[in-house]
Each structure stands twice: as C-alpha cells, then as structure tokens.
C-alpha cells in the first residue's frame, strides 16, 4: 500500500487524533479543531473534540433479513424457530400474519437499523438524536451516563445509553417491548432483548454499525449483524405519514409512487 493510497484515510486518522479527548493528547501541542462529519449539522454546544457523526446518512443496504454476519445459522430457541417457520409459511401462502409495522407502529430496535429510509443524526450536549424518516420517529441515545430509569415503560425503540470508545459510539438498548420482530422476515424477539451497537465512521462517507442481539428468551446465544450507512449530505427528510399511506400511495393508474 502506498502513501498516496493512504492519503484519505491518513487525513481521517489525523482528524481522529485531533478529536481525541485532551488526556489522550497530553504533551502534544494544542490541537486546532478539525471539522469532520458535518459541523454545521450538530448542536453548537457540542465540543469540537467529540467525534462527529452528525448529518444525513442513507442506508448502504436494505435487507429484510437480519442474520448473523459470521455466516452461522440464526441460533433460534425452539419456540422462536417455530414462530419463524410459521410466519414464513403464512407469507408464502399469501396470507401474511399480523405485523405491527404494517399498522403504522415503529419497526423498533433492531429492525429499524437496516432502514430503507435515511437517518438524520443530530448530536446535542446530553444526547444523540437519530432522526428516522420511516414512521416519523427518532431514537434518543442518552449520553449522560445515567442508566435507564426504573420506571421506564418498555417501547418499540426502547431506552438507549451511549458512550464513546475512542472513535466508536457504543449504544446499549434495553426497555424494548416484545411486540415487533427483529427483522421483516420474522425473527422474533422478547422484552428481555438487549441490543449493543458499535457505530464507527470507517471512512468520511461510511458509517458502520455492528450490532449484537442478546435475547436469552429467544436465541441460544448472542449473535452479531451489520448495517452500513452512506454519507448523504444533500438528503432532506420527506414527511412520512403512515396513517395516510402517503409514501406508497398508488397514482391514478395504480402504479406505486416512487418516493
């Protein structure tokens, strides 16, 4: 590998070095802020030294299936395997089973991670807001170091706590209700699910999310999957009103609108 090939990652590393916390730079000359990510799309009170992932991101891939990235089979417990096969059979026969998502309820975590719609991430001093175009929702990643409140009512998106490990944002989500599937294909989940995500900017225009699904009531052991998002600075959200089916509405000829 030549230095020229490394020029772009080298800039990223320099940027990363400048973004390290002060204690990691002891002895180094005072760093001038390096503007990575989109400095114009993050709350003005977030210090320049915090890694920047603010801005709009588009999914690199959309998939109906979330499966182990290791290539192993999904480690279903027996009830979960039956649930999955029953759903697949019902869908194949042309009468798919109830899906809360088809009733305008959020996909939930982790099903929303390989979303086919864009994300708009806004870092604020105490939380990272992840705007999700689909189903008009947003995740709140609490960065204040406090655990989930004891009286938190389980929800589709749950309660997310995040912290930075160097350049990687680690998010742990619990407080999930068991009403939705892990993925569109029909892998189930229970309210015991804990999802741990590791978001890393692999290149200036690529955000990687490696997430681990830990649900002892549903799977024999934790398993890990991947989603990727591409930098999309020109994307602006459209209003998504599932309750009106405004994004997939057929036109007069019966053809689905392309949105």
């Amino acid at each position: 590998m030549t230095c020229r090939k490394l020029a772009v990652p080298a800039l990223a590393v320099l940027a990363a070095a400048a973004a390290l916390p002060a204690h990691a730079q002891r002895g180094a000359p005072a760093a001038t802020p390096v503007l990575t990510g989109d400095p114009l799309r993050r709350d003005i009170t977030v210090p320049d030294s915090v890694p920047n992932i603010s801005g709009t991101w588009s999914p690199q891939t959309f998939f109906r299936t979330i499966r182990p990235m290791s290539g192993e089979e999904t480690p279903f417990l027996p009830w979960a395997k039956k649930f999955f096969l029953d759903r697949s059979a019902a869908e194949a026969s042309g009468s798919p089973l109830f899906d809360p998502n088809a009733n305008c309820l959020p996909s939930g975590v982790p099903r929303v991670l390989p979303t086919p719609y864009p994300y708009d991430i806004v870092q604020t001093p105490d939380a990272i807001y992840v705007g999700i175009e689909v189903m008009h929702s947003f995740r709140i990643i609490h960065m204040d170091g406090k655990p989930m409140p004891a009286d938190f009512k389980p929800s589709y998106l749950g309660y997310s706590v995040g912290h930075w490990e160097g350049e990687t944002l680690v998010i742990v989500t619990t407080g999930l209700n068991g009403f939705t599937q892990v993925d569109e294909e029909g892998r189930p989940k229970s309210s015991a699910l804990k999802v741990t995500e590791r978001w890393t900017k692999k290149a200036p225009d690529l955000l990687e999310n490696i997430f681990t699904i830990d649900d002892p009531k549903t799977y024999a052991h934790p398993w890990t999957a991947l989603a990727e998002y591409k930098w999309a600075p020109d994307v602006r959200f459209n209003e998504y009103v599932c309750e009106e089916n405004n994004r997939n509405k057929p036109d007069a000829s019966g053809k689905l609108r392309h949105n």
């Binding site: 590998m1 230095c3 490394l6 020029a7 990652p9 080298a10 800039l11 590393v13 320099l14 070095a17 503007l35 989109d38 400095p39 114009l40 799309r41 993050r42 709350d43 003005i44 009170t45 009830w79 979960a80 809360p100 009733n103 305008c104 309820l105 708009d120 806004v122 604020t124 001093p125 105490d126 939380a127 807001y129 705007g131 008009h136 947003f138 709140i140 204040d144 406090k146 409140p149 938190f152 009512k153 929800s155 589709y156 998106l157 209700n177 068991g178 009403f179 599937q181 189930p188 989940k189 229970s190 309210s191 009531k217 549903t218 602006r236 959200f237 459209n238 209003e239 009103v241 309750e243």
Partner: protein
C-alpha cells in the same frame, strides 16, 4: 497501536505527508491540489459559519409550553378574526365535537403539523445547529426541520404537507421562520381554528429570559380570516434530563391490544 496495524501504517504515512506537507503540495498532481484546496476552503467556510452560530443567543434545549392552551387568541387576548367561512367551519367542528364525532385529525393519529406541534402541552427538544434548527417533538414523535436557507420556496413540484415547508433566518437575536405548503387539513389548536392550503405562517422565536422562550406566530390565511393575526406562545425550559416519551398513537387504532410474541 498494535491493535490497529493499518492505522499505525496510515499514521506513519500521514506523518510523512505532514512533515513534507509543503513540498507535497507543490509536487503533487494538480487534481489533488485542487481537491485539497476545495476541502480547505470548505472547512474555513464551515468554521466561520459555526463561529457565527456560536455567538448567537442559545435557543437549543428542552422546552414545553408554559400553560395549556385550548383555544388560541391574539397576543392581546382577543379572539382570532375569523371571516364568515372560517366561522362556519369553526362552529361546525365545535358541534361535531359536542356530538362526540371526534373530528380532530389528531384523534386519528395524524400529524399535529406546523405550528400546532408547539401548541400541544408536551415537551420538545430544539437542536440548534449552524445549518438548521431541528425540533424533536414528543407528540407523534414528529421532527420539524427548519433549514436556515431562506428565502422560502413554495409550490412548484413540492408536496403539500401537514408540516408544510419551513425556512429560517436570524434577524439579530430573533429566529424568523416562514412556512407554507400546508395541506390545510390540520387544526391550529384543540378548539378547531381552521387553516387552508393557502395559509402562510411567520414565527419570530426569541429567548426572553434565562428559562423562557417566546414565539410570536402570525397566521396569514385570507380564506378563513379577515386579517392576518398574531398569537404569542411562551415556553418554559425543561431539565436537561427530560425524557421525550415514545408516544405510539397508532396503537389506539388497532382493533385488539398487542401482546408479546415470546411465551411469558
């Protein structure tokens, strides 16, 4: 560094590039020089915009309307100047509500729209950035994106929306937001004050105290009102550990309650 051998190699190269930076800039191929210059120009521009935004009054943080509003009034406490068509529609809605028909679009889990989302008695978060002001609302978990990109462009090939289209700009300490392109279906408040697709809204948002934000909202809609009129909303700052509760209105549209998939 051993955990990241590629990074180490990259860093070594980067160091070499930096040390020989001046020489490299002169000897490099023209396309690379041009790209580096574009990047430097953009960073300098971003830095200037960011510094300018940081010098402004802070409107970011958690807010909530300071008292519940059922029916909007003008800033001096008078009833809005409905015209004959507006009065007829307003009376019809009141009669429908009294008859238990639930005519309010929010009852059907439709978006609160702009600027009704601010009138709702629930907390919201404002993220203040140099490129846009983003409102994250608890109600309907709706996001309102206000790009600081005026002037407002309306019509043409753009959709008409519950939230409309908004464009913001700073006038001194005041954030001025103009909005239009509404679908005309939402109510302005719980009492049923109407809007038409022609409505234009101008908001003037200003921090008027350590924990108070003011929004002077001018509604301009000749179809239902005899003159433009202005309401005054004030918001109280909420603690920074405020949690915006995930409200899933669509649950109430289901014919039967949800139950978990997993055996208990």
């Amino acid at each position: 560094m051993t955990r990241y051998p590629i990074l180490a190699a990259t860093a070594a190269c980067a160091l070499a590039l930096t040390v020989s930076g001046a020489a490299l800039a002169q000897s490099s191929i023209p396309q690379e020089e041009a790209a580096a210059k574009r990047r430097a120009d953009r960073d300098a521009k971003d830095k200037a915009l960011l510094d300018a935004e940081r010098a402004r009054p802070r409107i970011g943080g958690y807010w909530k309307i300071d008292h519940k509003i059922t029916a909007l009034t003008t800033a001096d406490g008078k009833a809005p100047p409905l015209n004959a068509a507006g009065r007829a529609l307003y009376r019809q809605r009141a009669a429908d509500m009294k008859a238990g028909k639930k005519p309010d679009p929010m009852e059907a889990c439709l978006p609160p729209g702009t600027p009704r989302s601010l009138v709702v008695d629930k907390p919201f978060m404002i993220a203040q950035t140099a490129a846009k002001i983003t409102f994250f609302h608890q109600v309907y978990h709706v996001i309102r994106h206000v790009y600081l990109d005026g002037p407002l462009k309306l019509g043409a090939d753009r959709d008409v929306l519950w939230e409309g289209h908004s464009s913001g700009r700073w006038e001194g300490d005041t954030l001025v937001i103009e909005s239009g392109d509404f679908n005309g279906k939402q109510w302005l408040d719980d009492s049923g004050l109407p809007q038409s697709p022609d409505m234009r809204v101008t908001e003037r948002i200003k921090r008027i105290g350590p924990d108070t934000l003011e929004d002077l909202i001018t509604y301009d809609d000749a179809k239902y009102y005899s003159a433009p009129w202005t309401a005054r909303l004030t918001f109280k700052a909420q603690p920074k550990d405020t949690i915006l509760v995930e409200e899933d209105c669509a649950e109430k549209l289901l014919e039967y309650p949800l139950k978990p998939y997993a055996p208990e």
